[in-house]
């Protein structure tokens, strides 16, 4: 307010204030973002690296420097490798069908439909459902004795599956939750990209007698390839951090099943940090997770830029 008042006064000071306003105020406007993000986003991530080089427990005030001790321990830790393997497995089982389904769904939605908004909304509704609610609902559906899925499978003569008990079945169950929640979202992203593809391409393909599926494969997929790679990157970053689904699927157990059969990396991190309060060790696994994400994203970027150039 005071600034406005002085501004209206005409005089030699106005020039200075005006220049200060033009040169300085942009920084003022972007400052909140940078201050908050540096404080609560970047700093913690970097400080994680510092903590990871210590024996650092929430329960003691003393933090002993142990260099890369936590990292060497981590690479010898079968529970870590198990969690990494589970994460990759769940990521593959959830991402591949999810993105394929999303492509098909987007292809179906990319028509002049009656009730267009309704169909799009029904595709997106799983995504606005909270991840915790999804995990709880599906845990019930996947129940061994009274779950709906086992009952339906039973109609086809399949024996009851104890979904939480086995590695493969628990991975399928967790992946199902992820697929259900994210397919429609990805479909809408694909749909947005598909709408930028020139319609003439499809018209001439139709003239040549290409089926709808062929058009999807030969025209749509190459045209929206950057978007597909973008969704792969996003799903990778998300897939490496899957936590709520296995946590709630296992009745809030931090180990992801009695034999850690569906413990993901993020859940392992949670167990080490807030089950055992071993912050140093948990920080080391955070950083390893971070590096894994960076490497995978970089590979994706490399592929993207090569594709764009060619």
């Amino acid at each position: 307010m005071t600034q406005l008042a002085t501004e209206e006064r005409v005089g030699p000071r106005r020039g200075l204030l005006h220049r200060l306003d033009v040169k300085g105020s942009p920084y003022l406007y972007i400052a909140p973002f940078f201050i908050l993000f540096l404080g609560f986003g970047v700093f913690p991530l970097i400080f994680t690296a510092w903590v990871s080089l210590h024996e650092w427990s929430l329960l003691s005030e003393e933090h002993t420097w142990i260099g890369f001790g936590n990292y060497t321990k981590l690479f010898d830790d079968p529970a870590f490798w198990n969690a990494l393997w589970n994460t990759v497995s769940i990521w593959v089982i959830s991402t591949v069908p999810q993105l394929l389904l999303a492509l098909v769904l987007a292809h179906i939605l990319n028509q002049r439909l009656r009730g267009q908004t309704f169909w799009r909304m029904s595709a997106l509704i799983p995504n606005i459902t909270s991840v915790a609610a999804v995990a709880i609902i599906f845990s019930q559906l996947f129940g061994r004795d009274y779950g709906l899925f086992n009952w339906v499978l039973g109609l086809f003569g399949v024996d009851k599956i104890d979904w939480t008990a086995n590695t493969w079945s628990s991975h399928v169950a967790v992946s199902t939750m992820i697929i259900w929640r994210w397919t429609g979202y990805n479909a809408l992203i694909y749909l947005a990209a598909m709408q930028a593809v020139p319609k003439e391409l499809y018209d001439s393909a139709s003239l040549d007698g290409a089926s709808s599926f062929q058009q999807l494969r030969k025209i749509t997929v190459p045209a929206i390839r950057p978007t597909i790679i973008f969704t792969v990157i996003i799903s990778t970053i998300g897939g490496m951090q899957v936590l709520a689904e296995p946590l709630l699927f296992g009745g809030n157990g931090l180990t992801g099943g009695s034999d850690r059969q569906f413990q993901t990396l993020a859940l392992y991190l949670y167990e080490v940090a807030f089950g055992r309060f071993d912050f140093g060790y948990a920080s080391a696994s955070s950083w390893v997770m971070f590096l894994i994400i960076v490497v995978v994203a970089a590979i994706n970027f490399g592929i993207t830029s090569r594709l764009r150039r060619s």
């Binding site: 406005l4 501004e7 209206e8 106005r14 306003d21 033009v22 105020s25 942009p26 406007y29 972007i30 973002f33 940078f34 908050l36 993000f37 986003g41 700093f43 913690p44 991530l45 994680t48 903590v51 179906i108 028509q111 002049r112 439909l113 908004t117 169909w119 799009r120 909304m121 997106l124 509704i125 606005i128 459902t129 991840v131 915790a132 999804v134 709880i136 609902i137 004795d145 709906l148 009952w151 259900w180 429609g184 809408l188 992203i189 947005a192 003439e200 018209d203 139709s206 003239l207 978007t227 490496m240 936590l243 709520a244 946590l247 009745g251 993020a266 948990a282 920080s283 997770m289 971070f290």
Partner: protein
Amino acid sequence: MATTLAPPPRHVSPPQTARRRIRRLSRRRPGKLTYLMLTAIAFFSFFPLYWSVVVASQDNSALGKIPPPVLLGGNLWFNLKRAFTMVPFEKALINSFLVAGAITLSVVLFSTLAGFAFAKLRFRGRNILLLSIIGTMMVPTTLGIIPLYMLMAKIQWTGTIYAVIVPAMVNGFGVFFMTQYLSEAVPTELLEAGRVDGCSTIRLFWHVVLPAARPAAAVLGMLTFLTAWNDFFWPLVVLTPEDPTVQVVLSTLSAGRITDYSLALTGALIAILPLLVVFVVLGKQIIGGIMQGAVKG
């Protein structure tokens, strides 16, 4: 367009094929099969939500029957009362509204401010800074939760909703989204004219930019509210079961070897319901926002 570009037919086709071709040309007029598939998709989308109502309206003995009940029972009211007495659901709902509301206001305000600066103002380092913001969208911030928790413990915010609100008050997506929108929505000439008339930057922001930003701000606000309402991991870490958000309550309800599913799914239903209402009213805008963000992202 297409007809002028298409090569002339090499031979005259019999009328039947011609008609079929014309039908194909007016491409993608969906048939019955399309609607059948869409109905199936809608079924799979809605079914788990319907199912949560079914389970929430049964008592646990009915849930132990085979085949499982697939229609509504009469116990919804009873389960709702149970949910509100067994866990602090009222408090959780209030907390969730406060958290999501505060985060939404703050994200929209700060994103619009920063978006204005990036889209319309000239200053040194602009491109680098904008690029770094886009870079932050790729940073998996959940991996920093340990120091974040230590920080919150130090300033004694653990167990309070400040710990959930403050770190989420800005995000890279919001800034990027508003930058994109404002660079097109606000005519630069208008800002220059305002400058000539002696308007300060903040006044331009208030009288020119903010009104123009309203549609995008609404979309960003809705997306932010959804994300904040549904956030799980960090609230679970930093809040207590006594003073939780809705998502934290859900984890309390599903704890244990044997889950009381009619209670747990009642909880899930309560957690979904507010967003469902928002979505039914504003779904079209939310979808538009996601698709807009995707094309630009």
